[in-house]
C-alpha cells in the first residue's frame, strides 16, 4: 500500500517549521482472536514550534492515520461504499433503509467522515460480493414470515418457522400428537 502523507500548505500560526514525525497506528484485531493489537509506525508531516518544541498535527494528517488504520482492519474505504451503492442503483436513503440504519450513517461512511463497525463492514462486504442480495435484505425488513420449512417455533409468535401452510398444519398435528418435540 502506497502511503502518501498529506502536507498542509500553511501552518496553523506563524513561526512554525515543517517537521516529519513518526506516529503509532494501533490496529485492533477481532476480539475473538484474542491477540494484542498490532502497532504500526507511520511517518507524517507536522509543524514544530521552535519556541517550546510542541509538534502540531492537522486534521488532514489524523484523517490519513485513520485511513491507514481502517485499511489495516480490512474496513471498506469510503469510495467502496459509494461504488456498491451506485452498482446497486440505490440512493443513500434506499440503501440505508435496506440495511435498517440511519441515512446519516451511510452518508458518513461514504464521505469517510466516520468508519463502520466491523459487523457493518462484514454485512456490506457480503452485499458487495453478492453473498447477500437486495431482495434478501428487503425480505428482512418484514415481520418474520414463517414460510419455508423447519419444525422450530418462533419464541415470539409461537408460529412454526419456515413451513408452508400445508406443512405447518401437518407439523402442528405431529406436535400435537407428540411425534415432534
Amino acid at each position: 500500500m502506497k502511503r502518501l502523507a498529506p502536507i498542509d500548505e500553511n501552518p496553523p500560526f506563524a513561526g512554525l517549521e515543517r517537521v516529519k514525525t513518526k506516529m503509532p497506528v494501533t490496529v485492533p484485531v477481532p476480539e475473538a482472536v484474542g491477540r494484542e493489537p498490532r502497532v504500526l509506525e507511520v511517518e507524517v508531516n507536522g509543524w514544530r514550534d521552535p519556541v517550546d518544541g510542541e509538534v502540531y498535527l492537522s486534521g488532514n494528517t489524523t484523517a490519513f492515520l485513520d485511513q491507514i488504520k481502517a485499511h489495516e482492519m480490512g474496513l471498506l474505504a469510503p469510495e467502496d461504499f459509494k461504488l456498491i451503492r451506485e452498482r446497486l442503483q440505490l440512493t443513500q436513503e434506499e440503501i440505508s433503509s435496506l440495511l435498517q440504519i440511519g441515512q446519516r450513517s451511510w452518508t458518513r461512511w461514504e464521505t469517510g467522515r466516520e468508519r463502520p463497525t466491523r459487523s457493518i463492514n462484514v454485512l456490506v462486504r457480503s452485499l458487495y460480493d453478492g453473498i447477500i442480495t437486495v431482495p434478501y435484505l428487503e425480505e428482512l425488513r418484514r415481520p418474520i414470515d414463517h414460510e419455508p420449512f423447519s419444525k422450530w417455533r418462533c419464541s415470539v409468535c409461537q408460529n412454526l418457522y419456515r413451513t408452508s401452510r400445508k406443512q405447518r398444519v401437518q407439523i402442528e398435528e405431529e406436535v400435537a400428537d407428540g411425534r415432534v418435540a
Binding site: 496553523p12 507536522g46 514550534d49 486534521g59 484523517a63 467522515r113 468508519r115
Partner: protein, 119 residues
C-alpha cells in the same frame, strides 16, 4: 507554557460555537499536539482519531458544559479546559481557539485525568 487558570464556569456559547465549527470542518482547522494525540491513542488504542473530534464537538454543543479558562497560553488564543466522557471514561480536554481569527483550534490535551487535573 503558562497555565494560570480562573474559576470554573459555563463555557461561553460564542467560544463553543467557534470551536464546534472548526471541529465539524476538520482539515487544517483542527490541529492536535503530538503529545495529546499520543495520550489519546494510549487511552483509547482502538478508537479512530475522528472519534475524538466527534466527542469534543458533541460535548461542546451542550449548553451546560462547564470548564475553566486558561490564560497565558502559547500561541495567543482563548483556551478552556474541561472534562468530557468517552467510552464511559472521564477525559480531560484543553482546547485553544486561536485569536483574533477564531478559525483554528488547537487540541492541547486529551487524556485520562492526571492528579491535579481538577477544574
Amino acid at each position: 507554557m503558562n497555565t494560570q487558570v480562573t474559576n470554573r464556569a459555563l463555557i461561553p456559547a460564542e467560544w463553543r460555537r467557534a470551536v464546534c465549527a472548526a471541529l465539524a470542518e476538520r482539515g487544517d482547522r483542527v490541529q492536535i499536539t503530538k503529545r495529546a494525540k499520543l495520550d489519546w491513542v494510549s487511552a483509547f488504542p482502538c478508537a479512530f482519531e475522528y472519534e475524538l473530534y466527534t466527542v469534543l464537538e458533541e460535548t461542546l454543543k451542550g449548553e451546560t458544559v462547564e470548564g475553566r479558562r486558561v490564560d497565558g497560553m502559547r500561541p495567543e488564543g482563548e483556551t478552556y479546559e474541561f472534562f468530557f466522557e468517552f467510552e464511559n471514561r472521564k477525559v480531560y480536554g484543553k482546547i485553544n481557539l486561536l485569536t483574533p481569527e477564531r478559525r483554528i483550534v488547537l487540541i492541547i490535551s486529551s487524556h485520562i485525568p492526571n492528579k491535579g487535573d481538577e477544574l
